[in-house]
């Protein structure tokens, strides 16, 4: 439990400190990159879960993650194309990807109920971290109105994911 909590806190502070380290709020091309990366990470985690789980609630949750995050990311790609913005890689995105790769490896070693619990617990922590970053960092920093609006839709749907993950986690105990 403490490990999970600290992982969530670490993720949040990484998101904030990376943005702060740049000395200024993230730019729109960086925000787009961070948001897109966060979506890709959750889709990869869900695909791993779909390949490994035998639990029908976990499977339904993972399917929801793939469907919603792919929808948001498709919209994000359409938007950057329309705005003629090139998403820009940055420290926050790199840190997110690096941590996610480590998590995939870690979860890859687990099986059955043990995997299910660890996956869902990580989904709770991950969505908490992403929602907090969206709320406190990315949305306030976004200057393009359409990007801001997409991030707000993202926040709303990810808050639902967080609740859904908590619900699945409670049923796994």
């Amino acid at each position: 439990m403490f490990v999970r909590m600290s992982a969530a806190i670490a993720a949040v502070s990484l998101l904030s400190s990376a943005a702060l380290a740049q000395g200024a709020k993230p730019t729109d091309p960086q925000i787009a990159h961070i948001a897109y990366t966060a979506g890709v990470i959750d889709i990869a985690a869900a695909k791993q879960a779909l390949a490994k789980t035998g639990n029908k609630d976990v499977k339904a949750f993972a399917e929801d993650m793939v469907r919603d995050h792919e929808a948001v990311n498709k919209q994000a790609l359409d938007l950057v194309k329309k705005l003629n913005v090139k998403p820009e890689d940055n420290d926050t995105s790199r840190t997110l990807s690096k941590n996610a790769a480590a998590k995939l490896t870690e979860l890859g070693k687990l099986k059955g109920a043990e995997f299910d619990k660890a996956y869902v617990a990580n989904e709770v922590a991950y969505h908490k971290a992403v929602d907090s970053a969206l709320e406190t960092q990315l949305i306030p920093s976004a200057s393009n109105a359409e990007l801001k609006s997409l991030l707000q839709t993202g926040l709303k749907i990810f808050q639902g994911h967080e609740q859904h993950a908590e619900h699945v986690a409670a049923n796994l105990k």
Binding site: D64, R67, D68, A71, V72, K74, Q75, T153, K156, I157, G160, Q163, H164
Partner: protein
């Protein structure tokens, strides 16, 4: 000023038109993860037009299990109401989306 005999004819037409209107079409919209109206009423035989304005797929799933309609992103799906009752329904993918449809016989 229309002659007086026109009125019964107009009235008759309006009555005739109100017969097919007996089976109405009711629009229920899903936008930004909210179903509106949150409470709608309809009759058995009415058609519901489920309008999904979101980029996400949604469902209108009756808690009773009587119906389960999937509405793809940015699409409209219609369904005809077959059974009366006060139906609580929600989106299976986004359970925070909830609404009520009161269906009278």
């Amino acid at each position: 000023m229309a002659p007086r005999w026109v009125f019964p004819i107009v009235a008759a037409f309006m009555l005739a038109m109100s017969v097919p209107a007996d089976a109405a079409t009711i629009q229920i919209t899903m936008e930004n993860l909210v179903i509106s109206p949150a409470e709608a009423s309809a009759k058995v035989g009415d058609t519901i037009e489920w309008i999904n304005r979101d980029i996400f797929a949604h469902t209108a799933t009756a808690r009773s299990g009587d119906w389960d309609v999937t509405i793809p992103p940015k699409k409209t799906v219609t369904s005809v109401l077959k059974k009366a009752g006060t139906m609580e329904y929600y989106c299976r993918f986004h359970p925070n989306m909830k609404a009520t449809l009161v269906i009278v016989p």
